[in-house]
Amino acid sequence: MTTPDLLSSIRDTNLAYLILAQQMVRQDRAAAIYRLGISSELADLLDTLSPAQIVRLASNNVLLMRLRLDTTVAGILSDLSKDRTLVQAHASILFATQSAEPAEQCHTTER
């Protein structure tokens, strides 16, 4: 993949993600906060974004979303020897235990 292709894929992914996230927040705010792993402030912000603002945000050359996996969770989820339902249950416990938005914590410590 050439770099321009890569960058345009990143922008496409950003756009698709933002559109989906906004739809989720508008449809069911509480469930979206859980599924996206975001704070209620960010959910409110997503709700108010206009299409033009979404396109502007999505045209970043870096991905706007962050992996929720750390080495522990990734190790557990990719363990093929365990029952699938069990892994699913384990994953949802681990995701719900994580704090919303690791990015937000970085900002508060910087201030």
Partner: protein
């Protein structure tokens, strides 16, 4: 008694309907909605086509400690906590939302009811809030799992990181003995919809 507005009344009926749909028992409905017992029974009958089951609610905290219930209940309770902490919604809204999300995470088999019923989920939240049960981190995966409150906090592993020897053995039975299991499943259902757990 203060007169309620039509709007509030409609909200209560909607809430009760949603709770009945998810399988709430009468005690839960009485405690969480402002509707009279008679109206709740009527609603229940109209929606389910049967009288609400009688008898006491399950009151043992030990049920939440055994292997399979512990994992299911921990999934529900961690989602509930997440919603209360981040989505800022009321307790009963958080319980119903978390319960729907729990069913999504661990969908029950079409033949069997969910491991954790809504009424049990509701009692779990009460046990948790009255500090009879607590969430403890597993030393290996750092996930939060339900355990008895005030238990000495020595290093402990959760039921998934440290599988008990006979974990999940029950599931294999249906493959070998089909007819028996079907009969058993039916009696199970009738027990569940009948008196109590």
């Amino acid at each position: 008694m203060a007169a309620r507005s039509v709007y509030d009344d409609a909200q209560e009926v909607l809430l009760a309907t949603e709770l009945i749909r998810l399988g709430a028992r009468l005690q839960l409905l009485e405690s969480e909605t402002a509707l009279s017992r008679e109206r709740l029974i009527k609603l229940y009958k109209q929606q389910r086509g049967a009288s609400p089951p009688k008898g006491m609610l399950p009151f043992s905290t030990d049920w939440f400690i055994s292997w399979q219930p512990n994992i299911h209940a921990s999934v529900f309770l961690t989602i509930y906590q997440y919603l209360v902490k981040h989505a800022h919604i009321g307790a009963i809204q958080a319980i119903t939302k978390a319960y729907v999300l729990y069913l999504e995470q661990l969908p029950p088999l079409p033949s069997a009811p969910a491991v954790l019923s809504l009424t049990r989920a509701w009692t779990l939240v009460r046990f948790f809030e009255h500090r009879m049960l607590s969430l403890q981190p597993c030393e290996k995966c750092h996930g939060q799992f339900i355990s008895h409150a005030f238990q000495p906090r020595h290093k402990s592993r959760c039921g998934v990181c440290h599988l008990p020897a006979r974990a999940g053995k029950r599931k294999q039975a249906p493959i070998h003995i089909q007819p028996d299991v079907q009969a058993a499943a039916e009696t199970d259902v009738s027990i569940n919809s009948g008196s109590s757990w």
